[in-house]
């Protein structure tokens, strides 16, 4: 037997605790939307029970798993279901191979670098109907699907490390989205940190690996994990906290690396990782947060990304944004957006993606707020596709409030 497959087979015995209670099945967004998916219980603990110490089984129904992690949230026995489905995906890709499309989609970083370098061309081309028709025919990427724009002036180009010796120091894990698509989010985060007197550095980093895991490219994800762990530990060991503005990157550093890397170093790193809002909330709890925020009289809907909820930290974005005077923020409670990273870019999944997104779109419509706020770039992509409200990242709002407060002070 192939060594790689044996390797895939040796991890994880949490499946033994599965009582088949179906809580994961009832909580899985994709299971609710299609009968083509095997469901988290069958694709996770039951498949693992079947193949543990036996011949590896490749089950193509795993293609429908988005790795949103709602199964993990629902399991009363703490079975690591999404870890098991991650391995089922890896087995499938190992045996079946990756399509060119899935290879491209899972390479968010490489695509980001290239698309950013030719940003005006890329963005225009992605809007051209003949181009999209070709993409649909050749790559099975639906022509109706909106894509995030790429920015030429990406965060790599605009940011330079400045060290001035603040008490708290942040090593910023930017992530591909804020790096290449939404440098304004990264810039806002740096501003927010600076308003709190905290220096920000950008360590060497690669894609967190989540898009790779979602497409069964476990080996590549492990390589990226190992690189990021080593790179970030250099900082945490010097007293830096690692902070993310992308909730999927955050989940990878906090949780996924513990299962796909599993080393003591992965554990050491995870303990120092914060979501940006979580970090600010921690500063507030310690009385260190700059609360000089200008009022913003707005009604805002909050969409909680699955990978935010999976971090088990409450809803820090709302906790922080509620500190802005006059700011009214409401949790849409819409569940999964249906974009699910690369999932929603795939022709054969597009119908499910839209079906899932409908609930979210309805809740946005019903609330009828001034705009929507979410941390996740992919949720934003789906919101952009399905709603007519502007979508902002919490850091953009905070930066604006801090800046206005500063202006008011100087006037």
């Amino acid at each position: 037997m192939n060594d790689a497959l044996l390797d895939l087979n040796m991890f994880e015995d949490s499946y033994e605790k599965c009582l088949k209670c179906n809580a994961c099945v009832a909580s899985c967004p994709v299971t609710g939307a299609t009968l083509d998916f095997g469901g988290p219980k069958h694709m996770g603990p039951e498949l693992k029970r079947l193949i543990d110490n036996q011949q590896v089984i490749d089950d193509k129904r795993i293609e429908y798993c988005t790795l949103c992690g709602n199964c993990d949230l629902s399991c009363p026995e703490d079975v690591h279901i999404s870890t098991l489905t991650t391995y089922a995906k890896a087995i499938h890709t190992e045996k079946h191979g990756s399509s060119f499309r899935d290879f491209v989609l899972s390479n968010a970083e490489l695509v980001g670098k290239m698309a950013s370098a030719f940003a005006p061309v890329t963005n225009t081309a992605m809007k051209m109907k003949p181009m999209r028709q070709v993409m649909e025919t050749v790559m099975r990427i639906p022509k109706e699907r909106k894509f995030p724009k790429y920015k030429f002036k990406n965060f790599n180009r605009s940011f330079a490390n400045k060290v001035h010796g603040s008490k708290r120091k942040v090593a910023y894990f930017v992530g591909c989205y804020a790096m290449y698509n939404a440098p304004e989010v990264a810039e806002s985060f740096v501003k927010v940190m600076n308003f709190n007197g905290i220096e920000v550095v950008k360590p060497r980093q690669k894609c967190c690996g989540v898009p790779m895991l979602a497409n069964g490219r476990l080996k590549q994800a492990r390589k990226n994990a190992a690189f990021n762990i080593d790179s970030l530990l250099e900082y945490t060991r010097k007293g830096y906290d690692v902070v993310t503005t992308c909730t999927s990157c955050g989940l990878a550093l906090k949780k996924e690396y513990l299962s796909i890397d599993g080393s003591d170093k992965a554990k050491e790193l995870a303990a120092h990782v914060y979501d940006a809002d979580e970090y600010l909330r921690m500063l507030k709890d310690n009385g260190e947060l700059n609360t000089h925020l200008a009022p913003m009289k707005q009604k805002v809907g909050y969409h909680a990304p699955c990978h935010m909820r999976a971090q088990g930290m409450g809803t820090p974005a709302m906790d922080i944004l509620e500190l802005i005077p006059g700011f009214n923020i409401y949790d849409l409670g819409a569940g999964c957006c249906g974009q699910c990273g690369t999932f929603g870019f795939k022709k054969e999944k597009y119908g499910i993606s839209m079906k899932l997104g409908r609930t979210m779109a309805e809740s946005v419509k019903n609330l009828d707020a001034d705009y929507t706020v979410t941390e996740c770039g992919m949720c934003k992509n789906q919101l952009d596709q399905l709603t007519d409200k502007e979508v902002r990242h919490p850091m953009q709002i905070l930066a604006e409030s801090y800046e206005r407060a500063k202006q008011l002070q100087t006037v």
Binding site: H42, K255, A310, M318, D319
Partner: protein, 381 residues
């Protein structure tokens, strides 16, 4: 810092969190897993596995008889909440009714949604199963029901839902299929066909899996009862029961939308207790542990089945806060800002492993609003 920190996300925890938030309290709910509503039948019993009356229940649990009005008020508040959520519960705790379960046995229950209809003594009942759904066996159910209801005529039929599936269907899957009007119409035609084949001319009670629609339960109920010209009921059994999932999903959405902060997939591993007063609880997340501070705490972690209590060779251990407990797992001298909701109060509260939905809702109500004499404290004060 929260006003109220609820530990546990079953019926007790969810209600305590929603009601505390409704009182304007900043509320957090610490959750390990989806909570036991998911695995429940979705109907709320008085004394599980028993045909006891409200007076017997009040003696057993125990409540002082003068608290009866408070108990009824708590029940009324629960019913009002379910109406607000678009999934109204019926029933009277003073008059429990017989309902049929997914095994065909009859149990008494106090509160139940519109999709559940009390089972009559006589008449002609037909148990309808779906071929794709192995968790609900109509023949087995009909034989058990016949034993329980000797004066009744009970038949069983089985129809295909007729949708291609790549997995074995659950009751919830069937419920989601029945959300579609065409699927319902097709089912009705197939039921009529089967009834004709069996020479059943007029049945007056139809027993279905706990699958009568998920979102569109009201339409399903209407279309089936009108189409069949008879009363219909869900018989909750193997989870996931749509009867329970509807309640769970609506309560959770209510908690989220009203601003309860959900700490999902976390575990409380201890507390910072000073002078018998909890300052914060230790919460283990995926990557590290953190302290969640609060003014008041509700322990709604469940009993032995729910994982709030654990049987060890040295006795029963309370798993979240590590409180000292007596032989039944009842916390002794609990902290002054801690309220016990549901089965976390000790093994003496459970019957056949569960505490019963009515006690869950009444104790949650008590932890938020306080009942005279029975439970110390109450957050409203």
């Amino acid at each position: 810092m929260y006003d109220v920190v609820v530990i546990g996300q079953g019926l007790s925890g969810m209600l305590a969190a929603i009601w505390a938030r409704g009182e304007g309290k900043r509320t957090a709910m610490i959750m390990s897993g989806a909570g036991k509503i998911m695995q429940s039948t979705g109907v709320l019993d008085l004394i599980p596995g028993s045909r006891g009356t409200l007076d017997e229940w009040m003696k057993q649990y125990p409540f002082h008889s003068e608290n009866k009005a408070d108990v009824l008020q708590a029940v009324a508040k629960f019913k009002a909440l379910t109406r607000e959520l678009g999934y109204p519960y019926n029933g009277d705790v003073r008059e429990p009714v017989p309902v049929v379960t997914g095994s065909g046995h009859i149990k008494e229950t106090a509160l139940y949604p519109d999709t559940v209809t009390p089972v009559p003594d006589r008449g002609h009942a037909v148990v309808v199963g779906f071929q794709e759904l192995p968790d609900f066996q109509p023949l087995f159910i009909s034989k058990n029901l016949q034993k329980e209801r000797p004066l009744m005529t009970v038949d069983a039929i089985r129809i295909p839902l007729g949708e291609d599936s790549q997995r074995v269907l659950t009751q919830l899957d069937a419920a989601r299929l029945l959300d579609q009007k065409e699927v319902r119409a097709r089912c009705l035609r197939r039921i009529s066909g089967q009834l004709a084949d069996k020479g059943i001319s007029q049945a007056d009670f139809f027993v279905f899996p706990s699958s009568l629609g998920n979102e569109a339960w009201a339409q399903t109920l209407k279309q089936f009862s009108e189409g069949l010209g008879a009363r219909v009921t869900e018989a909750p059994g193997m989870p996931p029961n749509a009867t329970a999932i509807r309640l769970n999903d609506r309560l959770k959405l209510k908690a989220i939308r009203s601003g309860v902060r959900l700490y999902a997939d976390t575990t409380v591993t201890g507390a910072d207790i000073e002078k018998n007063h909890i300052r914060s609880v230790r919460v283990r997340m995926a990557n590290r542990a953190t302290d969640v501070a609060g003014r008041q705490f509700v322990l709604a972690t469940g009993g032995i089945l729910g994982g709030g209590l654990e049987v060890t060779p040295d006795g029963i251990r309370e798993t979240a806060l590590h409180l000292n407990t007596d032989g039944d797992g009842r916390p002794m001298n609990p902290p002054d800002n801690l309220f016990l909701a549901g089965a976390s109060g000790g093994r003496q509260l459970t019957r056949h492993g569960i505490v019963g939905g009515v006690y869950s809702l009444v104790s949650s109500y008590a932890s938020v609003f306080g009942l005279r004499k029975t439970v110390a404290g109450g957050m409203a004060k």
